[in-house]
Symmetry: C2
Subunit: 302 residues, 2 copies
Amino acid sequence: MGLLVVGSIAFDSVKTPFGHAEDVLGGSATYFSTAASYFTDVSLVAVVGEDFPEQHLQFLRSRNIDLTGLERAPGKTFRWKGEYTYELNEAHTLDTQLNVFQTFRPRLAEKQKKSQVVFLANIDPDLQREVLSQVEKPALVACDTMNFWIGGKRDALVRTLGLVDILIINDGEARELAGEPNLVRAASKIRSFGPRTLIIKRGEYGALLFGKDSVFSAPAYPLESVFDPTGAGDSFAGGFMGYLANTMNFEDANIRRAIIFGSVMASFNVEDFSLNRLRTLEYREIENRYREFRRLTHFDDL
Amino acid sequence: MGLLVVGSIAFDSVKTPFGHAEDVLGGSATYFSTAASYFTDVSLVAVVGEDFPEQHLQFLRSRNIDLTGLERAPGKTFRWKGEYTYELNEAHTLDTQLNVFQTFRPRLAEKQKKSQVVFLANIDPDLQREVLSQVEKPALVACDTMNFWIGGKRDALVRTLGLVDILIINDGEARELAGEPNLVRAASKIRSFGPRTLIIKRGEYGALLFGKDSVFSAPAYPLESVFDPTGAGDSFAGGFMGYLANTMNFEDANIRRAIIFGSVMASFNVEDFSLNRLRTLEYREIENRYREFRRLTHFDDL
């Protein structure tokens, strides 16, 4: 049954203070499913254009990702162009070409409708609901979103939030969605929209979890070299949801572990452009870094 | 012999999005020694003017702080005026009047020269060394500094750093001091100047410790209401050094605990203007919040 993700597959052009990459493999569903594939079976719902090369499909298949739901449409693949300054937490979008994504109407295969765990990556909230309505009886649903939808399709987004268990967004988005600068108050307000669990990503500062009776603060892994933050949030979500789909335990202690696995995947992903670091990553390295997160945060009881 | 601190005592005028306070008790030595007084005996070296009221001295004495080294000089007490926007991490200084601080030449009492643990709060690095040279055989020396000295008296500051065990500064200052945007690399460079331990404060994002073989990430406590960040860094240092002076154990595990106690003190301090929250704080509350830091950061081993 595994984990279902709907999101984008893209060609990214990225410039950072440490280099640049042109038309490399990117997109929320790509990062998410690759990161999640270390933990569980992933099935992907997305669209690419006629220009999308076979080698990228082969890579996704090599990660055991089910591409039944990948549509190839006439036209060009979604393209994103962005830049980062030394403030690596914030991407500056230079160009977005929706291309085949503009008319994408996802239809789930029969097998996908039985999915138990669903991740709605950052796409139009109406599309997120369209996908979710096709899943028969999901046990856990999480979603991401961004400023573009918070400002432009707020009502549709709030309807989506009423249907999800977990929302994963960054701190600026949380403040904007709640209309409240204090994150603790913003979290209460956002949870009142529906998600019983809110995860706020803070880039190089880690992530905060707000649950019913639980607040958890996870650090980011202090890296000597962050080459390209693109896909960090989606790799985080992939590690997080992949671990939850694998264990099917949604209690607080396991959600905390999942957040650390998410943080581990994000920390590897930013070490190189595109998905390059994840192409060579081994599970043994993931476990080792999880242990390093323990050493990074441990202090003794009173 | 307890903990010796040299620093400022001030009248602060502060504006935040949540209110304002005029000519209230402030200064690095004031916040530091009050926070530290919950853990150990503190002896203070500072100067005030003729306008400094008896009630403030009474408060410090009520915290059992030794005021032998407090000089009362002709003229006015140091004054600072600042403002915070919703970006509570950064103070905007509107006015600084050094007043009696301008000609301050600290002379330690005989008893103070025997101090084992010394904190050199954020003052002129030449003054920091002048104080330190009077301490006979300190077991642990820590200091703070700021952009003003990093830019204006770099050579003097580097000489001071060669004499201290622990440096406590914020992230912007660390980047400026090292000339390096990445904090991990900046930490290595700063540690090569002398301090074997570097603590980088990141305001609402907590603190990072860089030691010989150890990196530790401590969160900040997620608060619903941050009223006034003034003195957060000095309260942090006070809790941190106070705990170390009390235990006289400078091993990694104990330094981590001390960082949490520092974070606890900072989290209380920002809940009200000036030192108001610390005026009513009880040790039992400190221990409870330490336990909350445990719950906030705990996740299970693999």
